[in-house]
Subunit: 342 residues, 2 copies
DNA sequence: ATTATTGATGTAAGCGCTTACAAATAGGGT
DNA sequence: ACCCTATTTGTAAGCGCTTACATCAATAAT
């Protein structure tokens, strides 16, 4: 006490308890392989020295980190927050820690983050969406790090994934829009480049149009980043069109919130003059006014299931199955019949 | 080629390039200490083997991780998102990586996370708010990990901090509320237990009331978690009061958004019947309707400055200074004069 | 020509931990 | 009493990297 000591090591604990480092290690990692009395003595030493194991050393020696990495496109909005939280909670329950980093929707940055996470000893990786260089998967294979794709379900893809059918979900929503009577439909999509979810959603709208006898190529499409301001700006451009679309379907709730904000600014009544829809059903969807008609994604369920599947893969209990999460359309006030034709 | 190899190590690279491991290490870490020709040869080997340094080994040998840890109360809403993003960007610019984890506003969980981050070799830690056991600071000192407090500025506190005056900022906002004519003021605060920011904001309101000749103890106060639903619920309770408060000041924008949602549901007109204010000025504040009168916190500036100060501390260039970030009241439509007294 | 100086590279000692293996101890069956 | 097995603990070899120090060659200074 009083003396400036630096952090205690396993060795210090071993000495204090009068045992070998191996025994201390066992006390910490497999307590049942050590006799009760010894363990008590060791734990007491641990306690009184305020010992915390050095993670780097542990990873290095055990070649196992009980850490899962996740690379998400952005932390800037709530799109991934809820699902990730559930993912983390479940991971924690399974005895793992989560390391998150974001790629800003940049493939190069994502590659970088993947390398970083692998170098940090992640036992497994959660990736968002399928679109990705094959080289990356080879890299992961070489390092023997299992990976799981989330936020997208695609039975065609060879990689295991836990997610939902973006195309199908959006198609269903588009059908409601069309059956409300809309014919001039516009879409504000996220950037589809390298983003299979955004692509799927656009395709979903087109598919519904085709099914319902509308010309899919007549869809007015604006691609922009998933930001509120961008959604607002895109909506402004759509409203300047003649004739105006009567329904604006947005790639997600964030874009839709931006659209709503701009509508208010422009004095455009939603849904009386224009209907707006979102995707994801994050909290935002219920807060904005009018509340958003959108696609509800059970993020928590997805997060939990992804966590279970990925840990199973890490522990060699699964080869990597794909799980499809069901979405459903949620009807709120932002969608109504189109105004009477003039 | 073809053979299943496991991940290459420094040694493999050294052999491939025909040099010693030391030289490879130098190529990677201080390229100027190695002659051009050698470096080229080494880099080529690195490239062709697809070598990624093992982080754990590096940390262990160098006793330096170029990693900064941050423990934030929650990732569930956008309160910390923007500031943290700026923090990370600046950190990256300074050559550091950020590790984030969240404590769910639970001191015990925070302690746990701090230990984890330290064990993982974080060179420095960003903590939110001052309220914290002294024991934790001792632990950090023993492990020689510098820490910086953010989101709160308190010249009284002994710990360095980069943040804003919660009390002062809220006081200023409360003054606008009072000078708009409000006398029956209620507040929906976050849990003040162990949260100096929440405490400061409550105190700010009280202080303004006292200054303006109102009785501070007449403040109707509801404490609740920082969640939209909780804000809505609290607002509902306030509206059931007789007489009703004419202004509801919320501890942050999230609570205010909940209040607004409930107001709409109850058919209470904002601001005609009741005024509502927020705190933080996150994106949400501009999206809800009516848009929130709130306190603008320059989160990005705070994040950047915190990153610079903390890296300076880590590198021994600073003893840890405190920096005060200036906030300002933003007037939007959710605050107006109270209705004519009945 | 000789020595000092500088710069590039190699050698090898750890960093703190896990774990295969060896050793020691304690019962249990005969 | 003896041998065998099971249990607990110790010994020591790494894990992949950095870095102090040693070595060696090349250039500059005398």
């Amino acid at each position: 006490m009083g003396k400036t000591r630096s952090a205690p090591t396993l060795n210090d604990v071993a000495k204090a308890a009068g045992v070998s480092t191996a025994t201390v290690s066992r006390c910490l990692n497999s307590p049942d392989r050590v006799i009760e009395a010894t363990r008590q003595r060791v734990m007491q030493a641990v306690e009184s020295l305020g010992y915390t194991p050095n993670f780097a050393a542990r990873v290095m020696a055990a070649k196992r980190s009980f850490t899962i990495g996740a690379i998400i496109p952005t932390m800037d909005n709530a799109i991934f927050a809820r699902g990730l939280q559930a993912f983390q909670d479940q991971l924690h329950e399974n005895g793992y820690t989560l390391l998150v980093s974001s790629s800003a929707y940049d493939p190069e940055a994502e590659r970088e983050q993947i390398r970083t996470l692998v170098a940090r000893g992640a036992d497994g990786l959660l990736l968002i969406g399928h679109a990705r260089d094959a080289e990356i998967y080879e890299y992961l294979e070489r390092h023997q790090v299992p990976s799981l794709v989330a936020w997208s379900y695609d039975p065609e893809a060879q990689r295991p994934s836990v997610g939902f059918r973006n195309t199908g979900a959006m198609c269903e929503l588009a059908r409601s829009v069309i059956s409300a009577g809309h014919q001039r439909i516009a879409m504000i999509s996220g950037m589809t480049q390298g983003n299979d979810r955004a692509q799927g959603r656009v395709q979903g709208v087109r598919q519904a149009m085709a099914e319902c006898g509308l010309d899919p190529s007549a869809l007015t499409l604006i691609e922009t980043a998933y930001e509120i301001d961008k959604g607002a700006e895109a909506f402004g451009r759509l409203m300047a069109l003649t004739p105006r679309p009567t329904a604006v379907m947005c790639g997600n709730d964030v874009l839709a919130a931006g659209a709503l904000r701009e509508a208010r600014k422009l004095g455009v009544q939603v849904p009386e003059q224009v209907s707006v829809t979102g995707f994801d059903d994050i909290e935002l969807a219920e807060i904005v006014s009018p509340a958003l008609t959108t696609v509800h994604v059970p993020h928590r369920e997805m997060g939990r299931k992804a966590a279970c599947e990925l840990t199973a893969m890490v522990e060699g209990k699964s080869e990597g199955r794909s799980i499809c999460i069901n979405t459903r359309v949620v009807s709120r006030n932002s969608l109504a019949e189109p105004p009477i034709q003039t």
